[in-house]
Symmetry: C2
Subunit: 443 residues, 2 copies
């Protein structure tokens, strides 16, 4: 097994035991990138010399003081709407070709201070909002999209080019690429992780999340971010865990692969002893998709006004339309959309308790669509982003086109750590072939 | 009269009529800065050559194509937690001595694209949150604070060093300096103005605002930001305007100068024909101050985690305490604080209608306190920031120590333009001596 094939957790253990150096791990990932990325196009910027230099520094530090934290030396991909002090940020936009901001975004600063090795910047939908698509391709079939807008981060982790990466979600930009690339993801509770230094699209919805190759990888990062610990006890096995099977108001958009994925996950959980029961959201939740659109369009219009004024000719038409309020959202309608979200959030939180530990729901309609003209449909993610609830994406297996399909587990706001702990218990049942991707791709 | 003494509106008219060049105006402000700033310390960065170069470019552009907008050539001060592509940003922190981010914050980009001339960066409380105070002094008495955290922006506009400036408010950082420096300010509806590129302290509360020397100045900028236009008709005189005189739940902190200021404004409005009636907020609003503290401390903790990890030794103790959650805010309490704000916001909006056009309330307890160890008490601003409502600061006159005192007018969310239109009608009655500051300071 090559170092690039390791999960972050496995690599962290080897580094802690001094059985693997940061430089060895970095070189292994860089070699994988060199071999695979000409076909996958996950990356917009990788400076090999810089990576090796930083890896050696981290090795020296580990020799002198021991690993800084469990993240010490773990390679990271950073979505290119996120600033890095030593690498350019392009936002995949012709308006900002390659800006050196000389400052780390908060999320980058946190993992870098924890000893992480920033490998490079990953391709993204322009501004993570509209305009240009990423050039990234799905590692399971390069004729298909890896999803978006966190296209490169999802593809890079799915293709074993890097064990960990940052993505962001405003609609479905983080969880969908996880589903399409057969990887694990946490989209944290809204506002729980600082999005300083991340290109803003929607001020109330943009959320930074991370990708990994197992739930333990996600927990490793959650610890670095000091997400609040769970107070409630976490069961030690799936037995008796109460799972709400939620088709969600978006069910009309489900595809056969998505339905099979959800039902397979439910059945596997039942087989493992969990109590899986149908779960329907109250009626007001049906309007959250429209509210999400009102908010994203209006807040997006405010976010892209600078580019509209400075660079109208090269600003993408869909972003111009946000500024021009093509959706025609009145201030009253915007406030009503905020009010709906504000009332649904605590109502959703209150659904959890002795009768319900976690919600099981689709992470995407089905497999990744063919072509790079689309990044897929965000309909199974938007509502949860608007609710500000934590979401964990877990792979289930392969669909009829041999592309990954998955589900997401969801909990109430601020329960991120408990949700991850539950996901750690439940994922081995859901993800029946955790090493399938590895075998297939690295075979 | 020297160009530096002009309001932004007066200067814009002269520039449009080609009676004043951008360079003349810039040189006048720069001379005022050179003469006064050694005593006032409003600025952290002014590059005279850069300003003159940019001013000449704007003059050439105006000759070739006419003024870009009504903001063409108007000099701006930018609070130094706000990024500017051609000037360093320090955040007044030893952690970031002078970072060239090479990218404009959204608010800077919007006014720059509208033709504004960025004069320089103004001093601020560290990160606009805690730690180091600005060195800025009150132009009416340098032994007193100009308020904070937008200390330099408030002092620079109050001292006639620049007609317009950006500040930010998370608690009371924008409106209080307006009150203490005898100037006008708009703190817009929360989330209405992009805060991209502005140092984040509290993700749900940080708000970018601007200072001017009259309501028309504030409107000039509101137009550049395309704040949504008012649908409801605006009266043409104070006669019959319904004003709610709101002592607010913070009234226990009022000082004699603040009380006189509020009552004077109320009486002047009555004399001008407005209907001023006592107005009391519903009981749940009493808890907004505590909710604000919960939110600011918790969100601040997440915002300063990068510096806590990277620069613990030089991170200010009050900022460390946020990260350490010294206030002991549990996730449940945080969510309850969010829920209170979420329910009070629409409840507040609904108070307005035929019976109530605008609320009149203190902008600070009284005059600016003596000394630079404090920037004053934010108790009369915090609640409104949490409610996300637009606030317009208007000077009333001088207190017993001959320092400025003022009030603020407040409307429902998203009514910023209507609030400004109402303020334009009401301010001439409230601000009985609009040129007093000018006479006093400019002799």
């Amino acid at each position: 097994m090559e170092p690039y094939q390791l999960t972050a957790t496995e690599a962290a253990n080897l580094i802690a035991d001094r059985k693997l150096s940061v430089e060895e791990l970095a070189r292994s990932c860089l070699a994988r990138i060199a071999a695979r990325d000409p076909a996958i196009h996950a990356w917009l910027f990788v400076d090999t010399d810089l990576v090796i230099r930083n890896a050696r520094e981290l090795d020296k530090l580990a020799v002198a003081d021991g690993p800084k934290t469990r993240l010490h030396g773990l390679p990271w991909g950073v979505k290119d709407i996120i600033d890095t002090f030593d690498m350019p940020t392009t936002q995949n936009s012709p308006i900002y070709p390659a800006v050196h901001t000389n400052r780390d975004a908060a999320c980058v600063g946190i993992v870098r201070s924890s000893g992480a090795l920033i490998l490079g910047k990953t391709d993204t939908v322009e501004f993570a909002s509209g305009g240009r698509k990423a050039l990234s391709r799905n590692p399971f079939n390069p004729a298909h999209t890896p999803g978006g807008s966190s296209s490169g981060s999802g593809a890079a982790v799915g293709d074993f080019q890097v064990p960990l990466a940052f993505g962001t979600q405003t609609g479905g930009s983080h969880i969908r690429p996880a589903a399409f690339n057969g990887i694990y993801a946490l989209k944290p509770t809204g506002h729980l992780v600082s999005r300083e230094g991340v290109r803003m699209s929607s001020i109330t919805l943009d959320t930074v999340g991370w990708y990994g190759r197992c739930v333990d990888d996600l927990i490793l990062v959650a610890e670095a971010f000091r997400l609040p610990k769970s107070q409630a006890p976490v069961p030690s096995s799936p037995k008796g865990v109460r799972v709400g099977l939620c088709r969600s108001p978006a069910w009309h958009a489900i595809e056969p692969a998505g339905e099979v994925s959800l039902m397979t996950a439910a059945q596997r959980l039942r087989d493992a002893g969990a109590i899986v029961e149908e779960f329907e959201l109250p009626a007001p939740f049906n309007d959250l998709q429209d509210a999400h659109a009102d908010i994203v369009e209006t807040e997006g219009g405010r976010s892209f006004l600078p580019e509209y004024l400075s660079s109208y000719a090269i600003l993408a038409p869909d972003l111009r339309r946000k500024v021009e309020n093509a959706r025609g959202v009145t201030p009253e309608r915007l406030l009503a959309s905020y009010a709906l979200a504000d009332s649904c959030r605590p109502a959703f939180d209150r659904l959890f308790g002795p009768e319900l530990d976690v919600i099981l729901t689709p992470s995407a309609p089905g497999e990744a669509p063919e072509g790079l003209h689309t990044t897929g449909n965000a309909i199974f993610q938007r509502m949860w982003t608007l609710l500000h609830v934590p979401c964990v994406a877990i792979p289930v297996g392969r669909g009829p086109r041999n592309l990954p399909v998955g589900i997401q587990l969801i909990g109430p706001r601020m329960s991120d750590r408990r949700l991850l702990d539950l996901a750690r218990i439940l994922a081995p049942a859901i993800d029946a072939h955790p090493k399938a991707a590895l075998r297939e791709l690295c075979g």
